[in-house]
């Protein structure tokens, strides 16, 4: 029997190839190359290092000035790519009339999910991020941490193969951070997860791979093991120079 299922279980690879982004007077990302695989990758860097610009380009929100980003060979500007993408921007808002549930259903619809499937998935995610009891309340009334968790749920709606999270732990309290790390670790088993942060402890224990950015360039990348010592110290040392 000719079984063709292999095409679905192919190896996942997100390739960033000599990508630059230049604004009028400033180079935000400078000829950066990296390849991401299944697992959690932490993107470390101070504010203004170009993390957000890089992430926006990976999501196809911004077009690079030069260079190319592909997922399994498919340019990230393609519509097909967006169906496997989950994205949490650093900042986002919400239409004032939306409840948490409305918010998820809206994006589920925009992601092309059938209505009943969207409903089940939304309930499931509201449960996962601990917002089930406030799902009918307006998002306007949510605290910063609640809104952030809603954003994370939104990014997970379509079971993304590529999950991009820009400063996902901002506004989360310590308990929420722990839960978030568990959730991301789980997702990282079968998806490419890239999360940016300026807090080293956010990624120290869950990231399989670390990228460090400074002034639009990649300063260091590789795997960080317990035996390598404190990532925090390394990070600070690298950035002092």
């Amino acid at each position: 029997m000719e079984l063709t299922t292999e095409r679905t279980s192919k190896h996942m690879e997100l390739k960033i190839d000599r990508v630059s982004k230049q604004y009028r007077n400033k180079i935000a990302v400078d000829r950066l190359s990296a390849t991401l695989h299944t697992g959690v990758t932490g993107l470390l860097g101070a504010n203004g290092a170009g993390k957000t610009t890089l992430m926006r380009m990976i999501c196809g929100v911004l077009t690079p000035t030069s260079g190319e980003i592909t997922y399994n060979g498919m340019p990230v500007s393609e519509e097909r790519y967006r169906s496997v993408l989950g994205y949490l921007p650093q900042e986002f808002g919400c239409y004032p009339e939306f409840s948490g549930r409305d918010f998820l259903l809206y994006f589920a619809a925009l992601k092309g999910m059938p209505r009943n499937e969207a409903e089940i998935r939304s309930e499931e995610l509201l449960e996962t991020v601990g917002l089930a009891d406030v799902s009918k309340k307006r998002v306007r009334t949510y605290s910063g941490g609640m809104k952030q968790r809603l954003g994370i749920a939104q990014a997970l709606l379509n079971r993304p193969q590529v999950l991009i999270l820009d400063e996902p732990t901002a506004g989360l309290d310590p308990m929420e951070r722990v839960r978030f790390r568990e959730l991301i670790g789980e997702i990282g088993k079968s998806s490419i997860v890239l999360l940016s942060t300026h807090i080293v402890s956010d990624v120290e224990h869950i990231a399989d791979h670390i990228l460090m950015m400074k002034d639009g360039e990649l300063l260091w990348q590789g795997e960080w093991k317990e035996s390598d010592g404190s990532l925090e110290e390394f990070y600070l040392r690298e950035f002092r120079e």
Binding site: M1, L3, T4, P114
Partner: protein, 168 residues
């Protein structure tokens, strides 16, 4: 009613595993069935998604038999239940032992049912496919499904009785 894809995947796998007794092949057939289904119908929220999936999977299993001979049959023939039971009795733990004995008895009883009876029991009693859907899968009327299922259950009770298990 909503379609729980993960659960249907497991049930379809159980069905294909029964027919192939091969983990990798059964899983490939399940995934191929889903893939072919999606290519044809686009959404799992179709009313007849479940029977269609089974029909596709069943045909793939049949294709496989043609090449390999009826594996389920072969498997049943090759199993020497008496020997296995002997091995089980040397086992130390009582509860495990009685579990294994029950398991072997059930296997012996079911091996004396016809292939169609086993298929009906698997679809309806185990995988909770509705009678209407089972009829679609097997290409018989819903009433024929009811009738044959009743007979199969009766036959099963008799055979289980012979093994000393109270089938009710």
């Amino acid at each position: 009613m909503t379609f729980d894809i993960s659960r249907q995947y497991d049930r379809l796998y159980r069905y294909c595993y029964y027919h192939t007794h091969n983990r990798i092949l059964a899983q490939d057939i399940v995934q191929e069935a889903f893939t072919r289904y999606m290519e044809r119908y686009g959404s799992l929220n179709e009313k007849n998604a479940v029977p269609y999936l089974y029909v596709i999977a069943r045909n793939l299993c049949i294709d496989h038999y043609r090449r390999q001979g009826t594996l389920a049959e072969k498997y049943l023939q090759s199993q020497s239940y008496e020997e296995d039971q002997g091995a089980a009795q040397t086992d130390a733990e009582d509860s495990l032992q009685s579990f294994l004995i029950t398991k072997l008895s059930v296997q012996r009883a079911l091996s004396r049912l016809s292939e169609e009876e086993r298929e009906l029991l698997l679809l309806i009693s185990v995988n909770e496919v509705s009678a209407r859907e089972a009829g679609m899968i097997l290409g018989i009327s819903r009433f024929a499904v009811y009738r044959r299922l009743r007979l199969a259950q009766k036959h099963l009770r008799t055979e289980l009785g012979k093994e000393g298990i109270d089938g009710d």
